[in-house]
Symmetry: C2
Subunit: 344 residues, 2 copies
């Protein structure tokens, strides 16, 4: 209980400075090292972290801000982050914003000058206020899954992920629909839409403006927007979705509406979530290296903390891999409806 560094020092017959050095790998003779070790072991003493932090300004916490908790992709990223950070001696402080921008700002300012040695921001939307908050940050930050100019970030090649998928589908589809997300989300909103448009164009197909719908990041929204899309444009035979979750919802609608998938309508998502393996038929999708992204972001942040915020600045863009499954029609090539085929 009332154990503090003074008690330990007294019991070990040394000054408290020496105990502190023992705890922080400073110069201590092996004789005193042993004496201190024994006393600490006997008493079960653990230094009080608030006192350490007050003096040293190091918290050994890393703030990780995520938009929601029950997500496959986020789970994998956090898993990657976690493995690196725990090895590096950091504790994760996970803050979940539930897709609320205000919360995101709240956490950024909460972490400001306090609480954490660094931040990994698994961002969604960047407003001017976000940038201001980031600018005012006193600790290094790595942005994960979005590109933001001037910041260290680890992100996906959303454009080519979407484009490769669209190019592939352009071969077997005639009339296209797209279920995307808000354009305020640069990665998932803008980049993926741009990739889909270019990919279809490259395959001499057009994505009509009225066939582009905006969803929230939940299945129900995919269901609803698929319904509106198909009711407005019944001739659509290919639906591309910005995420697997949206695709799963849309697929549910298609089946409820009695459409044959992929016969009458084919559908695909992006993300290679475990959902995409469960639906019937399994979803054609694009694998993104979520766990890898997490580890890279964490490593980058640790470097940033150790070497100083502006000594290192990196932008890591990660590849993707097309996963062809049963929810889309086989093309003319050989072997293309195997579970895995690398189109990149």
């Amino acid at each position: 209980m009332g154990m503090n560094i003074n008690e330990i020092a007294k019991l070990a017959g040394v000054s408290r400075a020496t105990v502190s050095r023992y705890l922080n790998q400073g110069y201590v003779s092996s004789e005193k090292k042993e004496r201190i070790r024994q006393v600490i072991e006997k008493t079960g003493y653990r230094p009080l972290s608030s006192a350490q932090t007050l003096r040293s300004k190091k918290t050994n916490f890393i703030g990780v801000i995520i938009p929601k908790i029950n997500s496959d992709s986020i789970g994998r990223m956090v898993s990657g982050i976690s493995s690196v950070l725990s090895r590096a001696g950091y504790q994760i402080l996970l803050a979940c914003t539930e897709n609320d921008e205000g919360q995101e700002l709240k956490f950024l300012t909460l972490f400001k000058e306090n609480h954490v040695d660094g931040i990994i921001l698994l961002g969604t939307i960047f407003t001017a206020e976000h940038k201001k908050a980031l600018k005012n940050l006193a600790v290094p930050v790595v942005i994960l899954s979005q590109y933001l100019n001037g910041y260290s970030c680890v992100y996906y090649d959303d454009y080519h992920a979407a484009r490769n998928l669209a190019e592939y589908l352009a071969k077997t589809g005639k009339q296209f629909g797209y279920l995307g997300v808000t354009q305020r989300d640069q990665a998932v909103g803008q980049e993926r839409l741009r990739g889909v448009k270019d990919g279809l164009l490259f395959g001499n197909r057009l994505l009509a403006q009225e066939n582009i719908r905006e969803c929230r990041f939940v299945m129900e929204s995919g269901y609803e927007q698929a319904r509106e899309l198909m009711e407005a444009s019944p001739d659509v035979d290919t639906i591309i979705c910005a995420t697997d979750t949206i695709a799963a919802g849309a697929l549910q609608y298609l089946k409820a509406a009695g459409k044959k998938v992929p016969g009458e309508v084919q559908i695909a998502g992006i993300g290679d979530s475990s959902l995409s393996r469960v639906t019937e038929p399994a979803l054609t999708t694009v694998h993104l290296y979520f766990e890898e992204a997490g580890t890279q972001a964490a490593q980058l942040l640790v470097e940033l903390i150790q070497k100083g915020a502006d000594a290192v600045r990196k932008e890591v863009k990660l590849d993707s891999r097309l996963i062809i499954q049963k929810s889309t029609r086989p093309g003319e090539e050989k072997g293309e409806d195997t579970d895995e085929s690398n189109v990149h």
Copy 2:
């Protein structure tokens, strides 16, 4: 930057004690209150939490220990916890153990006397070491989703959840298989198995020992164990699963093996995860009030912190609700394959 309570006091022309009282709703005249308010607003001063914690021993953090992050049910519980705690002025420190008992102990001892004002342990398995670690805790703890004698806990009526499901299926099944989890997990392992056994017995059915299989909490494991089960006992026509995730994996196997579901084999899970709505056919399952459990656990913990650890001690057991969908055969009653029917 270099703003601290002394600077604020000087600028406002008061003592730092008064500034502290201002920050902690002590006696301050409205005149000085206003002066301090203005200075704080102008400077953007925020008290350093490590200094506050060192002196007051309050961290305003609550440690929430969870077994894994990308889980539907856990996501909902955390969401419930989060809404209550943030309203009460607490910050969540989410620690994810990735289903590793060692990690669970590590976090418990990490939180010991340090870091947090209270703990919510979303537990899985309780060893003697766990109990020792819990006993040594200096802060109140609420155990969520498991019952543990002598501790405040919020948990599910796993027995009746499983039993109701089994009683329902006993009407339409002949040969039963059960895909459970380790018996070391009291709630999901022991209680659900016991409920299933009793429910079947009540319906004059038997669960043969060799038709009971143990899975891990992932789809792949459900797939694999379903395969082994069906290969060993091809006459099984009803598979009950301890979780929806396991059921989803098992369902995948059944379809891959060409079994008609629910015609030849019917299957059901527990948890009412979003997965259960996506599979084809949708899974009959049991709804558990995850979010409600989260809010109750958080409220209980806040009470515990405010009123003292042993002033309040509560055990909250939560109800369940059978959700009948298409993965099981309709019984003789009327209207029983609607989406929602309350059997309790």
